[in-house]
């Protein structure tokens, strides 16, 4: 019992319980139990890391007390850089490096604007969200750009970012796990993580203790940008092309994933395990509801509802057992 209440005191504990409940419900009630069908699990494992990897970075940024709405534009922008660089004859590996560097650069711009103007990042990144999407639409003329001819199915590059292991397990999930562990160590065990928490929790105190909070925030933005660049390439390799619609809706879904995972909107509170859980829960809700034959366009309503309920539940349980 002692163990149990200690567990419940964790902010994301109730999310975990609901997550398990959802898995059970979807498994039982989806037609022919297709939810736990190996092919469905494999498809999920392939798709969820797109949102998941970005959400990991966004979670860290939110703990630091900032938002990034621009991920939904930075991602396709990097995807376009990647596709373009292949077209001019750059090797896929270097194209990916370039895309990630551009992601870092766009993240740095977000950080720079936020830190220097002292404006809420909600505003600065709303601006860059629209700005980069506009630039992208003009530059790409919204035309898709196929990249299969540069990265053929079965090539080693394709295998590393869109293949499967032992013929079943999607590598995307491994990438997600890798990022979750690395960022988890960074956030919870590295001194930088302590600066992130301190900055988000009480910026004045962090500054007074000699932490360069502007630098910490900017670096968190850069990490988000880098992850966007990574996902942009991973996703492009999977779908075999650049598409101007990549990333749409990701800004709010990534925040929803973080919030569902117990991250506070005010900063200073949250954990990598929570964000990981949130990044799994949102896609599973999506997937399960589709399998339950909920009309696709109605699913957003459920995600919205679920986000609110999760937050209420997490806050309630946390207070109750503190």
């Amino acid at each position: 019992m002692e163990r149990f209440t200690k567990f419940l005191r964790q902010r994301a504990a109730s999310t975990f319980l609901v997550f398990v409940g959802l898995v059970i419900i979807f498994s039982l009630f989806s037609p022919r139990h297709v939810f736990i069908n190996a092919r469905n699990i494999a498809a999920l494992g392939k798709l969820f890391p797109d949102l998941g990897v970005v959400a990991l970075g966004v979670g860290m940024l939110m703990i630091c007390g900032e938002f990034d709405l621009s991920v939904a534009s930075v991602l396709p922008f990097c995807a376009y850089i990647f596709a373009r660089s292949l077209y001019v004859g750059i090797a896929p590996v270097w194209g990916m490096v370039l895309a990630i560097l551009v992601g870092c650069g766009l993240g740095w711009i977000n950080g720079f604007l936020t830190v220097k103007t002292r404006m809420p990042s909600f505003i600065t990144t709303l601006g860059t969200l629209m700005f980069w999407r506009g630039i992208l639409y003009v530059w790409s003329q919204m035309m898709p750009l196929g990249i299969r001819q540069y990265i053929p199915t079965g090539s080693s590059f394709e295998k590393v970012f869109a293949g499967t292991i032992v013929g079943f397990f999607p590598v995307q999930s491994l990438w997600f796990a890798l990022f979750a562990v690395v960022l988890g160590v960074l956030l919870h065990y590295h001194r930088f993580g302590n600066w992130v928490y301190a900055t988000g929790d009480n910026r004045d105190a962090a500054r007074a203790m000699g932490i360069n909070t502007d630098w910490v925030k900017t670096l968190c933005f850069v990490i988000v940008g880098a992850l966007c660049g990574f996902v942009a390439c991973m996703q492009s390799v999977r779908i075999g092309s650049f598409a101007a619609t990549q990333g749409i809706g990701m800004e709010l879904r990534s925040i929803a994933a973080c919030v569902v995972g117990g991250t506070s909107l005010r900063g200073g509170v949250g954990s990598m395990s929570g964000v990981t859980l949130g990044a799994l829960t949102i896609p599973i809700l999506d997937n399960g509801l589709i399998l339950l034959r909920v009309p696709v366009f109605g699913i957003t309503a459920f995600i919205g509802l679920a986000t609110i309920l999760f937050v209420v539940l997490n806050t309630y349980v946390e207070r109750r057992f503190r």
Binding site: A198, A206, A208, M209, G210, V269
Partner: protein, 250 residues
Amino acid sequence: METGNDFLVRMVGIHKWFGRVYALRGVDFEVRRGETVGLIGDNGAGKSTLIKILSGYHQADQGDIYFEGQKVKIRSPRDARNLGIETVYQEQALAPNLSISRNIFMGREPVRRLGIMDKKVMDEESMKALANLGLRLRSPDLPVVTLSGGERQGVAIARALHFKAKLVILDEPTVALSVKEVEEVLEFVRQLQREKVSVVFITHNLYHAFDIAERFVVMARGLKMADVKKEDTSPQGLSELVLKSAFVAV
């Protein structure tokens, strides 16, 4: 006649503008080694500005700072901490959701390889630092938000002590505390005095300051209005000084 060496810190002719607001109009301020100075004055008198210049939060537009006889430039809170100046702000000193040990080592985490924090050292040293102050808390993992107001000040002061501060600045440490908690905090300050640490105690409450300070500096509208030793005054006298100086035409 005292020699300059008696002074731990000396601020000379400090001026500070915030846009069009002339916040400090040439203030001299000094603290001797092991001395406790009460810095008092009404809201907007410039106490906090003066102290924030000393702790690196603001930079003076004009004027010099000497620390242990050496002229120093304090450009950031980190510079100040490196000199041995620790500031305990009213409510701003701690991150409420972080654990006690993470707060105590905030910005100065002991690390093993690759910047990974040494949690064992952090926890042990935190508990030791708190015990030195006579504060017994259940666990170094408790989030600071679960502590009482007095205990929180204790954590902040323990942090200052642990890092061998030579000067501890307490900015309104007793504001919003219960009577019992105030007594607790004053006891922490006495512990600092026993360890021969210099203290600047900023407060509205003359009675809290009077208990522990040896000298009082009264400020009003960006100027130092009075500098009196404890034996030359009384709480009533001080209170009159504050009132009078607030009404003097500048």
